[in-house]
């Protein structure tokens, strides 16, 4: 089953959000307009808008406000992707050329800045202090997370805590924020808002861990980029952290990355095979499942409803996601 099937009844609302996204990025300049639209059309799961919609439906649902929040969150996410591709020198994203690759760094920088500006112009039409305080704090933390990711690149001796803090900032915070903003808009009480924020956080952690697993277990076609891309770039993810406990793997990875000019696809593929054989993938799934369990537990007291059921289904789906 595809993830989108779990929330297929949101199709109409998601279309409205998609249309709004398209219209918000209609820059006066064709290059900015085309670059932003290209990124938008490359797709993506729109998981943040989905969480805003679902949590927004748990209370007093106001589509206009929800649309504004969802559009801004997605634009912020997209702006960070455009800049990430400059940082990673990435040629492909979701199998399509990146803005950085199709145009250049300068255009990618302008496009990212433009999209972030549009996100803030858009969200400030909502005058709710909690919304802005939560989103701005998340945005600062996301930026810090990106810096920390670079700080710990090629650091083979980092521990699990550092990895978890990094993926929290990188992924989980924006998903948690999506859930919280939807819940605030719906007028839910503080306790439920907190629970939904935590639900989003746990889901985000699990989601990123599985993404990190799939970087080793999926094919280039499924990923839209070569397998093991994270490892090539020195990003040490959970499977590597587990595998590195094996002295043979530790020595091998140090040996390979000590000679960065000689890194080949064959050597990376050999490392991927060693990771798969080490049991690291299974251990990573276990950690991911623990987060999913926490996500399910935290919302169990929220009154039953279709959107709540969907939140649970998403947690179940993420646990089974294999590409």
């Amino acid at each position: 089953m595809k993830l989108a099937k779990t929330y297929s009844y949101l199709k109409k609302e998601l279309q409205i959000i998609e249309k709004a996204l398209g219209s918000v990025i209609q820059s006066e300049h064709p290059v900015l307009r085309n670059a932003s639209t290209q990124l938008l059309k490359a797709g993506g799961k729109r998981i943040r808008p989905v969480f805003v919609l679902l949590t927004g439906k748990l209370g007093d649902f106001r589509m206009e406000e929800i649309k504004t929040i969802a559009v801004s969150l997605e634009l912020i996410h997209m702006a960070t992707l455009v800049h990430d591709d400059v940082i990673d020198d990435a040629e492909l994203r979701r199998g399509k050329p990146t803005i950085k690759h199709q145009y250049d760094n300068r255009v990618a920088m302008y496009t990212g800045d433009y999209m972030l500006a549009r996100a803030l112009e858009n969200i400030t039409s909502i005058k709710m202090p909690e919304i802005h305080q939560c989103l701005s704090k998340a945005l600062v933390d996301v930026c810090i997370g990106e810096v920390e990711q670079i700080k710990y690149k090629y650091n083979w001796e980092q521990n699990l805590r550092i990895y978890l803090r990094r993926i929290k900032r990188k992924t989980a915070l924006l998903i948690a924020t999506s859930c919280k903003l939807g819940a605030i808009s719906a007028g839910l009480d503080a306790s439920d808002v907190r629970k939904l924020y935590k639900y989003g956080y746990y889901i985000g952690m699990s989601y990123q861990i599985i993404d990190d697993i799939l970087d080793f277990t999926s094919t280039e076609k499924q990923l839209g980029k070569p397998a093991g891309s994270d490892l090539r770039q020195g990003n040490i993810t959970l499977p590597v952290l587990f595998a590195i406990k094996e002295p043979i793997f530790f020595q091998e990875i140090i040996h390979i990355f000590n000679h960065p000019n000689e890194i080949t696809d064959e050597k990376i593929n050999a490392l991927i095979d060693m990771i798969k054989d080490s049991g690291a993938i299974e251990k990573s799934y276990q950690i991911s499942n623990q987060y999913l369990q926490k996500a399910l537990n935290i919302i169990k007291d929220i009154p039953d409803s279709v959107p709540k059921q969907t939140l649970e289904n998403i947690a179940h789906y993420i646990g089974k996601r294999r590409f």
Partner: protein, 251 residues
């Protein structure tokens, strides 16, 4: 002289606050500390001097506008040149310049969110949008003559300050701000400092451009001198002392 001393002291304090706010140990360790444009800091300070808003809010407006300026300036330092790649990808400095710019932008949003000033968040975001639209026009050489180029430069360099001026109810000084910033930018260009004109990657005939600048700087200078508002006179006074002023601020 006493007033000038007080202004300088206040600006030093604001500058320290901005640096403290923008500080992040790993960024500061690996990239050059972001430049707080002294001329623009003076400009915004002057703009807000006689404005009827609480001191704390003024301080936030100065800090956030300067953080946005720093964000934009930092992103302009990101190279288009593949030579900045190290053997394992993009150099650390380049990567951190991208992130530092994003970080300063996010701080502006955070600071203004904390005082619930959504309107000013929107005002600065609108300025950022317009600046990026103008920057891309300069980058793609979409100007027919120097006049058009200078108009784009005005948008790029002055939008943050003209938007602030309109927001605080001083729309009549917008054109003066634009002229002032243009002169300031052109002077920086003449003195070899990095400006928007460095973004132009095809040959800009430097000699004819500078001669055009020299000729065209006279007109806005005369306008500012003869018709200057209180704001401009005050700014002139500050600028007259600007070199020693900036030297002292930088120390």
């Amino acid at each position: 002289m006493i007033r000038l001393h007080n202004i300088m002291q206040e600006l030093k304090e604001i500058q320290t606050l901005i640096k403290k706010q923008a500080h992040y140990h790993y960024l500061d360790k690996h990239i050059q500390a972001p430049n707080i444009d002294q001329g623009k800091l003076l400009l915004i300070y002057t703009l807000l001097t006689d404005c009827d808003i609480p001191k704390q809010k003024k301080e936030k407006y100065i800090m956030t506008t300067m953080l946005v300026q720093m964000a934009l300036d930092t992103h302009d330092l990101v190279s288009n040149n593949d030579k900045n790649h190290s053997h394992i990808g993009v150099s650390l400095e380049q990567q951190l310049l991208v992130l530092a710019g994003d970080y300063y932008s996010s701080l502006y949003y955070l600071l203004l969110s904390n005082i619930n000033d959504y309107e000013f968040i929107q005002i600065l975001a609108e300025a950022i949008r317009k600046i990026n639209e103008a920057k891309i026009k300069v980058y793609y050489q979409e100007f027919k003559n120097y006049e058009e180029l200078l108009n784009l430069a005005k948008t790029i360099e002055a939008s943050l300050y003209t938007h602030l001026a309109k927001y605080i109810g001083e729309p009549e000084i917008v054109s003066y701000i634009e002229e002032w910033i243009l002169i300031y930018t052109l002077k920086n260009y003449q003195h070899g400092k990095k400006t928007i004109f460095d973004q132009i990657y095809v040959d800009l005939d430097a000699e004819s451009f500078i001669s055009y600048i020299e000729k065209n700087m006279e007109k806005p200078m005369i306008i500012l001198r003869e018709q200057g508002f209180q704001f401009i006179r005050q700014y002139h006074l500050l600028i007259k002392h600007s070199q020693s002023f900036i030297d002292q601020l930088s120390n």
